[in-house]
Amino acid sequence: MDASMDILTTALAALLCLAMLGAALLAVARTPGKASDDDEAAEIRALPGAILAAGLVGLMASILYLILAAPDVAMTEAAIGSGLTTFLFFFVLARIRSRRERETEHG
C-alpha cells in the first residue's frame, strides 16, 4: 500500500514536472524574438499566450509543492505566482498597448 502510493506520487510529480517544462517551453516560444521580426502587431498578439503559459507553470508548481508536503508554499504560489502575477502582467500589457495606440494616433 505504502510503496504503491509512493510510486503513484512520484509518477504524478514526474508528470507535473513534464507538464511544467512544456508550459515553460510554450511561454518561451510564444515570447516574441527581437528586431528580426518587425511585425509589432504579431509580437503583441503573441504575448497573452506567453503570460497564460507562465501562469500555468505557477499553478502546476503549487500542486507540486502540495505533493512535497509544503502547503504554505503551495498557497502562496497559487495566489501570487499563478493568480496575481498573471493579472499584473495583463494590466501592464493593456497599459503599454493603450499608450502605443495613443502614440500612433498622435504621430
Binding site: L21, A24, L25, V28, A29, G33, K34, P71, D72, M75, T76, A79, I80, G83, L84, F87, L88, F91, V92, A94, R95, S98, R99, E101, R102, E105
Partner: protein, 239 residues
C-alpha cells in the same frame, strides 16, 4: 532561429543539472541540530501548534519584518511610478461589458474569498498558511471584484490607513516584546495558553493578523492602482 536554439539548449542544460541533483538526493534519516531544536522547543516554549509559523513570526521575526518592508517599498514605488505617468481626464466612457457569469459569481464569491483570507491568517498558528498567504488570498478577492467591475475604485484612504496602522502596531508589539519578554518580537507578552486553541501562542495570532492585513492592503492597492490607471488610459483614448 539561433536565439530559439540557444534558449532550448539553456533549458535542456538546466534540466540536466536539476535531474543530476535529484539523482544524488537521499533524505536525511533524522532532523539536523537546528531543525530538532525548533521541532522540540516550539510547543513548550511558544505554544504554537504550527512550527513553520513559530519560526516565521518569532524565531525569524526580524526577517519577516524585513520582507513586509520590501513588499511595502515595492507597492509604494509602483504607486509613485503610476502617479508620475500621464494624468488623463476622466470622461464618461461607457463601462466595458462584463459577462453575466463573472458579475454574478464575483458578487457571491468575493465575500467568501475575503473570509477565507481572514480565516487563513487568524488560524496561522494552528493550520498551514498565515499572514502572507491570507493577505494574498484577500488581494485575489479584490482582483475578482476588479475583474467584475474594471471601473471600481477602492478607497485609497481606507487601504492606506489599514496598511499604516497594521505596520505600526506590528513594530509596537515587537518593541513590547523587548520590554515585557525575552526580546524584539517575542510572542510571550501574552499568555501562551493551551496548545492548539484559537487564543494561544501568545502574540503570534495578533502579529500574523496584522501582517495579513498589511500584505492584503499592499497587494490590493497595487492591483487597484494599475486597474485605475488602465481605465483612465481607456477613458483618455475614447473619442
Amino acid at each position: 532561429m539561433v536565439k530559439r536554439f540557444i534558449a532550448l539548449a539553456l533549458v535542456l542544460a538546466l534540466g540536466g543539472l536539476f535531474s543530476a541533483l535529484l539523482a544524488g538526493y537521499s533524505p536525511d534519516p533524522e532532523l539536523n541540530q537546528t531543525a530538532r531544536y525548533y521541532a522540540e522547543r516550539t510547543a513548550p516554549d511558544l505554544g504554537a501548534a504550527n512550527i513553520v509559523t513559530a519560526i516565521i513570526v518569532t524565531y525569524r521575526g526580524l526577517d519577516t519584518l524585513g520582507e513586509v518592508t520590501v513588499l511595502f517599498l515595492a507597492a509604494a514605488v509602483v504607486g509613485l511610478v503610476l502617479a508620475l505617468g500621464g494624468q488623463a481626464e476622466k470622461s464618461g466612457a461607457p463601462r466595458p461589458p462584463v459577462g453575466e457569469l463573472l458579475a454574478t459569481g464575483s458578487r457571491y464569491l468575493a465575500p467568501l474569498i475575503l473570509l477565507l483570507g481572514v480565516y487563513v491568517f487568524v488560524n496561522g498558528h494552528l493550520t498551514p498558511g498565515g499572514g502572507f498567504q491570507g493577505g494574498a488570498i484577500i488581494a485575489s478577492g479584490a482582483l475578482l471584484m476588479l475583474l467584475a467591475d474594471p471601473f471600481k475604485t477602492f478607497s485609497h484612504r481606507l487601504i492606506g490607513a489599514i496598511e499604516a496602522l497594521s505596520g505600526t502596531f506590528y513594530v509596537l508589539i515587537g518593541l513590547l516584546g523587548l520590554v515585557l519578554a525575552g526580546g524584539f518580537l517575542d510572542n510571550r507578552i501574552l499568555p501562551t495558553g493551551t496548545l492548539g486553541a484559537l487564543f494561544s501562542a501568545g502574540a503570534i495570532p495578533l502579529i500574523y493578523s496584522l501582517i495579513g492585513l498589511k500584505v492584503g492592503a499592499e497587494l490590493s492597492s497595487l492591483l487597484a492602482g494599475l486597474a485605475e490607471e488602465k481605465s483612465r488610459a481607456h477613458d483618455g483614448e475614447a473619442p
